[in-house]
């Protein structure tokens, strides 16, 4: 049994009969270390701990200790991030700025059986476009520092996917305007995204996450347009959110269709059995995904993303496909190609490569690749 199969089986642990059973005996120490590192990067160490506790995944005493230490590191970081989340949400609340908790911090508490099963490495909050400048200013006044200035004075509220801020604790906070970059991100109806939040509690305070179908669709974005190589935690999240007889499969499909993201949902649903094994997502959703034919616009937009062979540059340039007016497209391209001086100066100071050069190299490489 290869390391990769073991890592996938860990991510799928407890769902159904494992597609790839665990090895019969403890694996060698070097391999075990690789499995732990890979599971940590997939944010699934909690499931490795559970599999070992249940006796399904065999390990020596030393290996168990190594796993527990790695998991405890993840969990120490998780509670530190949650304390930062409480502080940020309190500051935003005082300023009258609503926020929705996205991704790890939300799904760990709402969708997994125990928050210790789902690791996360940063805090993600959804902020309304009309509030985003004020949110950044509010947090900056309290010592949070954004990684780069805005590309243009209206960029954050009109076009940014998210804005990254750093806390003195070392925590990273991403303020999201939308869920993914590029064309698909611009087709998300932000009013509909904000509708129907789901409350949950962290540290005695009530937070609000996206509703179940919106969290499921967000996981589908993460499994496709969000990353070049999606994490197994995104597949597990999608499964966890959609399990249960009362999950609104029709509502999820309708929402994805209305945001022109049915192609991404279909691909994500077809991907989950490859990642976690058969029988993990509702059969009606699998049946829909296997028979679904997305429209031409989505098929074109898909090719601008890294999961479909695109690059960061094509994803960003492909954003014009998702914008509705010529004025928006012109402002977007202007901001991409001619960002304001503070943005360019900050990139230089951070020794980041010039964007136009990186972009040209990526496009050239892609053109030359058969």
């Amino acid at each position: 049994v290869s390391n990769e199969r073991t890592v996938h089986s860990i991510a799928a642990y407890g769902l159904t009969a494992l597609t790839h059973p665990f090895p019969d005996a403890p694996i060698p120490a070097a391999q075990w270390t690789q499995v732990i590192e890979a599971s940590a990067s997939h944010r699934t160490l909690g499931y490795a701990v559970r599999a070992v506790e249940d006796g399904a995944l065999r390990a020596t005493d030393a290996q168990v200790e190594q796993l527990h230490e790695a998991h405890a590191r993840d969990m120490r970081h998780a509670v530190v991030l949650e304390r930062e989340l409480l502080a940020v949400v309190a500051l935003l609340d005082e300023a009258g700025i609503p926020a929705r908790v996205l991704k790890g911090a939300a799904v760990a508490h709402l969708d997994h059986d125990d928050p210790g099963l789902r690791s996360f490495q940063d805090i993600d909050l959804l902020i309304a476009p009309t509030d985003i400048d004020r949110a950044v200013l509010t947090l900056a006044r309290s010592g949070y520092r954004r990684d780069l200035p805005a590309r243009t004075d209206t960029w954050d509220r009109r076009f940014a996917k998210d804005i990254t801020l750093g806390a003195s604790s070392g925590a990273e906070i991403d303020l999201h305007r939308t869920l993914v970059p590029g064309a698909f991100g611009f087709r998300i109806d932000l009013d509909a995204l904000w509708a129907e939040g789901q409350p949950f509690e962290i540290g005695g305070r009530t937070m609000v996450a996206l509703s179940g179908i919106r969290r499921a669709l967000h996981a589908a974005y993460a499994l496709t347009a969000g990353e070049a190589t999606p994490r197994l935690s995104a597949a597990r999240d999608l499964m966890q959110i959609t399990r249960g007889d009362d999950f609104d499969v029709d509502g999820l499909i309708a929402l994805a269709t209305s945001w022109r993201a049915d192609l991404l949902l279909g691909e994500a649903v077809r991907r989950v059995p490859r990642d976690l094994g058969q029988g993990c997502v509702p059969p009606t959703l699998v049946h829909w995904a296997e028979n679904h034919r997305p429209d031409r616009w989505q098929q074109v937009a898909r090719h601008t993303y890294r999961f479909a062979g695109g690059t960061n540059t094509t994803t960003l340039l492909g954003g014009v496909l998702g914008l509705r007016s010529t004025g928006q497209r012109a402002a977007y391209l202007r901001g991409l190609m001619f960002p304001d001086h503070p943005y360019r100066a900050a990139r230089r100071a951070a020794h980041r490569p010039a964007e136009w050069r990186t972009g040209a190299r990526e496009l050239l490489r892609r053109t030359r690749t058969p």
Partner: protein, 95 residues
């Protein structure tokens, strides 16, 4: 006042994770240190999923570990007081 009938509960403003071999608890207030618990402290924490009196807590743990209530009480009462001092447990006095 009968302290054995005070109601003990987990503190509210706490961030925590229950791991197989330890319990991590971080008070939400800024600057507070992460606390790692092990042994009997974890058993007390687990039992306090629902608030209960000290007497009930001692009785449950005595049953769970098949130990005399007096022995359990001598271990648990100082432990509960220590966790209270750290802000991890709250106590509501019996009426």
């Amino acid at each position: 006042v009968d302290a054995a009938h005070d109601v003990i509960a987990r503190g509210e403003a706490l961030l925590w994770r229950r791991l197989p071999d330890r319990l991590l608890v971080l008070p939400a207030r800024a600057g507070a240190e992460l606390i790692t618990m092990s042994g009997t402290a974890i058993d007390v924490w687990d039992e306090l999923e629902q608030p209960q009196t000290v007497h009930e807590l001692v009785t449950r743990l005595a049953v769970r570990f098949a130990a005399p209530a007096s022995v359990v009480e001598s271990d648990v009462v100082p432990l509960v007081e220590g966790l209270e001092r750290q802000g991890l447990l709250t106590r509501t006095a019996s009426p």
